[in-house]
Each structure stands twice: as C-alpha cells, then as structure tokens.
Symmetry: C2
Subunit: 293 residues, 2 copies
Amino acid sequence: MSFNEDQLHRLFAERFQPRADMLGPGDDCAILINPPQQFCISCDQLISGVHFDEHASARQIAEKLIGRSLSDLAAAGASPYSCTLTCAFPEDYSAEQSFELCNELISVAAWHQLAIIGGDCSSAKQLVLSCTVMGCANGKVPGRNSAKVGGQIYVSRALGGAVHSGRHLSPTPELALGKLLVEKCSPQAMIDLSDGLDNDLHRILRASNVGARVDVDLLPLNKGCDWQQGVSEGEDYGLLIVLDEAVALTIDDVLKEDSHRLYRIGEITTSAKLDYQQNSNSVILDTRPFSYS
Amino acid sequence: MSFNEDQLHRLFAERFQPRADMLGPGDDCAILINPPQQFCISCDQLISGVHFDEHASARQIAEKLIGRSLSDLAAAGASPYSCTLTCAFPEDYSAEQSFELCNELISVAAWHQLAIIGGDCSSAKQLVLSCTVMGCANGKVPGRNSAKVGGQIYVSRALGGAVHSGRHLSPTPELALGKLLVEKCSPQAMIDLSDGLDNDLHRILRASNVGARVDVDLLPLNKGCDWQQGVSEGEDYGLLIVLDEAVALTIDDVLKEDSHRLYRIGEITTSAKLDYQQNSNSVILDTRPFSYS
C-alpha cells in the first residue's frame, strides 16, 4: 500500500471529538447511545474519473463527497449526526496525499458538525470514496410518493452549468432550508437535485403516480444556461419541493424571516407525464438526461 | 454504464421487507424509527484484485463482503440490524453480472436477517464494494482497551490457511458466540481476527497498555499450517477474547450448552510486548505480518 493504514486509523481516532452519546473510531464498531428516534441514513460514492477529474483538489474532493451526502439529509429535513467513510487509494497516491485527503475529510465533516465514527482504508486502481451519512429528522420526512394534483412545484436555487463552472466540486447542501420547510411547511414531496430536474422530478411523479406541468420561463437558470440545460444537467444540489396550494400562498413570507427563497416553476397535474410549457404551449426537451457516464 | 442503475435501485426497493420500524430504499434517505439504544456501526470494503481474484463467484463476493462486516458486529456481541451498500462496477461487467451480484448480496443479507436500507451504484476500473453494517448491542460492548494482567486469552476457531484454502471467501461471523460471551462472560476485550492473530492481539495490547504471553503449542491450527502461519495469516474471522481468570475457570461449562468452544492460548502480562513461548522458552515470529497488499 502507498500509505500507512494504521496511521490513518489513528488520525481519525485522534481527531474524533469525545461525546457522551458516541463511542467513535478505535474498536471493531462505533457505538451510538440512544441515537435519534427518527434516524435518517443515506450513502453515496465519489470516484476519480467519474465524479471528478485529476484537477480536483483534496479539499474539493472532500467537499463534494460530504456535501452531496448531506444534500440527501437536507431533502429529508434532517440534521447531520454521524457518518462512516471508506477510502480506496490508488497505488500512485503518496502517504502525504492520503493524509491530506483524510485531513480535509475530517475538516469538512467537522464544519458540518458531522462526527466521523468509523472508516476503512484500502487500495484500488483509482480513488474510490464511499460515505454513509446519518441524520436526525426534525418532523415528518416528506419522501417522494405523496405529491398531489394541484401541488405547487418549487426549486431552491438556479439550475444548470454545475459541472462546466466547477460548482459541482463544492456543493452546498440546503440543510437549513430543508429543516425549515419540514418544520413549517409540511412539503408533500422533497428531493435533492443531484441528477437534473428532469430526472429528479420524474422520480417524484413516478412514486406519486401523478404528472406535472413546468413553465420553462419560470425556471431560475445559471448564467449561460438555456432551459434545456437547466433541467437536464445534474449536480445542482438544491431542493425540489412540492407544497400544498394553501401553503404556497404564504411561503414567501414564511421563508423571508430566515433569508431563504424558493422559485415556483409549475404544478402537479393528473396527466401521466411531465409537460414542459412556454406561453401555454408544450415544448419538447431534446437534451439527453443527465448521467455521470 | 454497463448496467441500468435505476433498475438496480428498484431491485433493492422491491426486495426490501417492509417493517414498522424501518423505511428502506426509495427516497433520499432510509429512516429507522426508534433504532436500538446501543447502536453498533462498522464499515468495510471489498475490492477486486485486493480482497478476491477473478475466480471468485458472485455468491462468494457477497458472502465475503457481508460476512466480514458482520464479523465486526460479532466482536461487539451485537445482532445484525441494517446495512447500506455501495457498488462500483467495472465497465466490462454486464448488466446480468451486476444483477447477479446484487441478488446474491440481497440473499446473503436476508439469510443474516440484515435489512439493506440504502445503496448507491456507480462505475469504476475494478469492482469496489463498501458496506456499512448496523447492529443492536446485547450488553456492555467489550472493545479493546480493558485487557488486564492475568486475563486469559482465547480464540474461537483454528487459525491459518484461510486464503490458500479459499475459506476467506465464505467467512462465517461468530455472531451467536459473540452475543453469548457478552451476555454471560463480560469479556475484558474482544476483537475479530481479520488481520491475523499477531496484528489483532497487538491492537488489544496497545489499546490496553499491557503485554501477553502466547504458548504456541496451545494454538489451534488449520491443516498444513505451522504456528507462524497461524498467527500471521489473516482472514480467519474467528474471535480473539480476553476473559477474567475467574470466568475462565467455568467457560467450558458455560459454552457447552450452546455447542460452542474456545481455545485458551495464553495470558495477559505486565510485559510491554507479545511473547510467543514454546516449552517455556521464547520463540521468534519471523513471518511478515499479514497485509492484503
């Protein structure tokens, strides 16, 4: 191996902040004492050449791995609690590079108050990271299967261009917004925008057995992106939300106090499909849906 | 990608057994309702060319990934509860191969009553699997840092030859024994034998700040292995246990009812080192400690 695995284990154990409700790295298992009653769990991978290229810095790799994992918690309105990490380092990775990456992972996790309670290091042909993130829910978790006809569809930030701009390397998970929405607005459905609005909205529609109309002129778009790029490119890591009509009437006021805002882009329909419209006419999405490969 | 990721996600969601205390795959997060009060968590990786070669079957890969993860729970005396899995498939893996492996993972997990609550699929240059396993503790979890001078050292099965014999591909985690020991014998320390007795006993000695004497003639050895191979080769996946002297006097009777047995191999000493002895003389271990690479 190109690094000293026992030293890395010691690094994680030494940097673990002791807590009464958590026994962290050091034994075969970590132990959580009385974990949250609604305990949210999600996992994600980050792979060199797939999710980032050789120009990405250790900081960016750490921010992307942990940021996109936490984005799943944000979609559940949950707060970060703990995580496990597995790292497979390429043979040509020096011990210094392994230590730098692990230090950045520790630093980014600490910034999000996310305790790293366990991990494993090994070697592979390319850098492969995996993160299982655990969170504490703050109310009824919305999920994807309860969007109802008439529900108003929102996104939390501008869409498109995340990969081209490099923004995908430093995702900012909408943890505060997700928590606020669950506590105050009981969303019908919520999902994080990782694979592009078209893919992710389709997931809600399939799970809820409904359709949707999206007005492409209402889509908030990043600079240089047309609506087709906005809905088909991935890695925006904002939230896609469906709210009751009654809640929608007051949403701007609810969010204003906390300096959040949402963009209404359409509504849930009885149709079995996702209908993009411009000036009340259907328009066709002809871009291939987003995929990493 | 060489497989249909959405279809794989559906496979895991469809095969999930609904439970009142668990919302499994399908949303951004799984949710555990009132998880165990002492919740044990561990993670492990399995990488093609590192932990198995191209001759391993899908069944063996699944048994090794889940078996070695559960072996960490066994060392905590914990029972299987839930797990997350991430899979990176090589480009030349067919959709059929991906489905076969996922089906085997589902089948092996089900056999252990381990609910797969979440996962992620991607692609890589070689097969890389990661598993975070969660368990329910059944008493005070022993750990590694409380071995005391005079403590009696035991192993739960014969040592050595696991890789050469192919046994490493189908590890049988000592879940029932681990649980029984925690419930009835309050071990001073317990660890699973994944990296060879020499490595794993050293971990207990370092964490507990003690030494040990091991009588090499007491070591249970697999056929064809001498004592040096028995203590230095890895992947045995039995348990290494330190018991109070008083408990040691009755351990055979305690375990007999449940058809378990342990092998006493030595005791904890004030010395700062691990001393192998034969006929009361020190003997030197000259084999290189086990490492996957």
